[in-house]
Subunit: 474 residues, 2 copies
């Protein structure tokens, strides 16, 4: 951030003159986007008042770290808290109010109605700038038994505490994970490491929705190799309690478990925005421009509740991820404090660990390419993570997609027991730059036997993709 | 490569008509660039004759793999050979002639004079296209004792065999490595792993020439931590034999060793080209264009003997590395066979393992920035390889350089006990695209606790660099 200069400029522009009231910035939501916004606003304008309204008792925690923390009995979940409310107040001068639920926005009066969940009272809080960082919620199917004890989402730190407590204090021998996306896969990995017999249930006919068949197949092999059964094409029907056990009815089968984790997706929390008439985008999340402004004057949105500009699609999209939330929060906070920052957009990069493998993707998948009617070519390649015969060398599989008539890279996915996520970052950088596969193949990437073969898998994948493009043109 | 289409086109254009002689492509040099060129020419034009003249007995080996192979008693150095001469002849139809030294080129007569080192005879070989892949040689200072047994360069596979044989067969307890660049550091690492007491001698006042002081300091700390003494500011004076030992006199000190590895640099083998009046570039290596053509008609050059277009400098440069050699060889071979390929240029990317650390760089270092009179700003940042508290999280240190008035990224260097080389590749990709630090800071990079903190060190480094730029502008 060009903070050094910008904050100087802004400070002089917002100094209190003759005791005029300082600008009040109200942030609804106090996790990644919310606390980034609050901290950034404070930094940009030390004279403004920043109030954070957080429904939960916890603020500023790393939700992405929760599965791994649950898997490590030595660690406390408090490790994931970056900043507690007391420190935020005393050291950063942010008025953090926990257990406060914003229930309505009055745009005309410029105030937000707040329910104090602790005292069960209600009050109106005026704002000069409002930042919506209301996040996303786990989708919980309205099926019988979904509210039973032992059935958990994994979205809030409180969810994580409940799961970790149950694993520690009761005899969890069997678990069912419902949904085979990122969180489901991470939880299957973690629970398996904890010596709990895990079954994964997925409504679709394959794990890892949005990934290419080759990646899906290798992920499935890894799950099988680790002894984790996956029931695909199996929709959850109901859960019933039987003594201290849960019976999970999915598809035609019933699975006994003491712990159930539901991870079938998330949806943006947009009730507050919608109630105020703030525009939502086609994705259903809050529409924003690249300054993180919403359709309402002086109201910003950031994080899992908001859309982001997708640089590959050239249109807004909704992909709820922690990195994006942090970055959008910073931009929203800076701009609410008078700066003129821009969010650089997303390209759809994500990665996770799947037992002994890394899996990552960036850009568009085949499903998105089809949905947006893009004429594209895909190509699969296998190569090595390190030099041939170097210890730790492992096969990597890469899928690339490129636009047929231009050769422009559209997306890449990779799986293997080597450095995958940081290789996907090379593709992500190429997507930001709008490179063609030929340009990716020309990249001067690092090579030494402990890190890479002489032609990095990224270059091999681009070359194979370029050949596929050439064949498809004939 | 767009091989599928190109080769079809070319084949039809070069078919033998009425028994006309096929085109003969002669390649001088049979390692990375030479064999890449020969294989590619063969693939592009199956009717041409391809002759490879190789001075050594070995062809097509990975020189970069030699230190690591020496360190592994279980592996044979033959592991590093990608393709042997017999297979090249029978399966690829390449006329590989080993122990053949090209001594002169007659450009007018289109022939090369060859000394058969096996039979000690001489002959002239006519060519239609000539590819120079003569490589680079280790610089050996002309000092007393430099030719003693036990004193080695590490450039050819035969050098590696001699070193590995000596380590295996004689009692090597002490070794001296002369020169603290990539190869010197790798050899210090490897010899130390083999339980040999290593001393590193460096003429300059620091290890890792070309790296920033912060990287150099951390590399020095790692060497000290591993118990490898480094004598900086110590020029080699002479080596003498004393019984089965060698006494290495450097600076004011004398070091006893049984094995000495000299790795003070390499120089391009350009005698053959120079003798024929082929133009050399400012670097002293053979001047080439982006089609790998030299100043002489139908003569190409590729690999460690040739210059390459440096995309950051916007001018040719000479950086001898295996990746570049392979890529240039492919382009030279394709074009000698009638194609129209272009080499995409280099940005100066390199990496190596230093004991428990990875070290890598891309783009310009401070020395090059100064030499070319570029007005630049540098910034150092520390961050983490993984999420806070995630097992294996390690500190990473990054240095970035950017052009002062544009903010354009000029180079990056990184050191640490995490994924470094593949993070440097993100900077390398950004250099290819000509990105500013602000654009790098906007990259949508992968995040998950096992791989990265929420703000990847690449993003942190770009942000710190951007702040330094802003400060420097005030």
């Amino acid at each position: 951030m060009s903070g050094a200069i910008m904050s100087g400029t802004i400070m002089s522009g917002t100094k209190q003159v003759g005791g005029a009231a300082a600008r009040r910035i109200v942030v609804v939501g106090g996790i990644a986007a919310g606390m980034s916004a609050a901290s950034q606003a404070r930094r940009r304008d030390p004279h403004c008042e920043v109030v954070v309204l957080q429904r939960e008792s916890d603020i500023s925690y790393s939700a992405c770290g929760m599965p791994y923390n649950i898997g490590d009995p030595q660690r406390s979940l408090d490790d994931l808290v970056m900043l507690d409310a007391e420190t935020a107040r005393t050291q950063r001068g942010i008025d953090v109010r926990v257990r406060q639920l914003a229930t309505a926005i009055d745009l005309a009066a410029r105030q937000v109605r707040v329910r104090d969940l602790e005292r069960d009272t209600q009050y109106d809080l005026p704002w000069d700038r409002l930042i919506l960082a209301t996040g996303a919620a786990a989708v919980m199917p309205p099926l019988p038994g979904i509210d039973l004890p032992g059935v958990h989402a994994l979205r809030s730190l409180e969810d994580a505490r409940r799961i970790k407590r149950q694993v520690r204090e009761s005899a969890v021998r069997q678990a069912v994970v419902i949904g085979a996306g990122y969180i489901g896969m991470e939880m299957a990995d973690i629970l398996h490491q904890l010596d709990i017999a895990v079954v994964v249930i997925e409504k679709l006919d394959h794990v890892l929705p949005g990934f290419a068949p080759e990646i899906v197949r290798l992920a499935g092999q890894e799950l099988a190799r680790q002894g984790v059964p996956v029931m695909t094409g199996a929709a959850l029907r109901s859960i019933e309690a039987q003594g201290s056990d849960l019976l999970v009815h999915a598809g035609a089968a019933t699975h006994r478990a003491q712990l159930v984790v539901v991870s079938i997706g998330v949806r943006p929390n947009v009730e507050l925005a919608r109630g105020a008439g703030i525009a939502l985008g086609a994705s259903g999340a809050i529409a924003t421009d690249d300054a993180m402004r919403t359709s309402a004057a002086d109201v910003y949105a950031a994080g899992d509740c908001a859309e982001a500009w997708h640089r590959v699609l050239g249109r807004p999209a909704w992909i709820a991820l922690g990195t994006t939330a942090n970055k959008q929060g910073k931009v929203a906070g800076a701009n609410a404090a008078g700066a003129d920052e821009r969010f650089g957009g997303i390209v759809g990069t994500a990665g996770f660990k799947l037992f002994d493998l890394e899996v990552a993707r960036t850009g568009l998948g085949a499903d998105e390419i089809a949905r947006h009617g893009i004429d594209a070519v895909g190509a699969v390649s296998q190569h090595h993570s390190r030099a041939r015969n170097y210890p730790g060398d492992a096969p990597l599989t890469t899928v690339v997609y490129a636009e047929r008539h231009t050769g422009r890279l559209l997306g890449a996915q990779m799986i293997g027991a080597g450095t995958v996520a940081k290789r996907i970052d090379v593709f992500a950088t190429a997507l930001h730059a709008g490179m063609t596969l030929a340009q990716v193949e020309d990249l001067d990437l690092s090579y030494a036997p402990p890190f890479a073969p002489v032609y990095d898998p990224v270059l091999i994948a681009a070359g194979v993709g370029r050949k596929a493009l050439a064949r498809s043109a004939t």
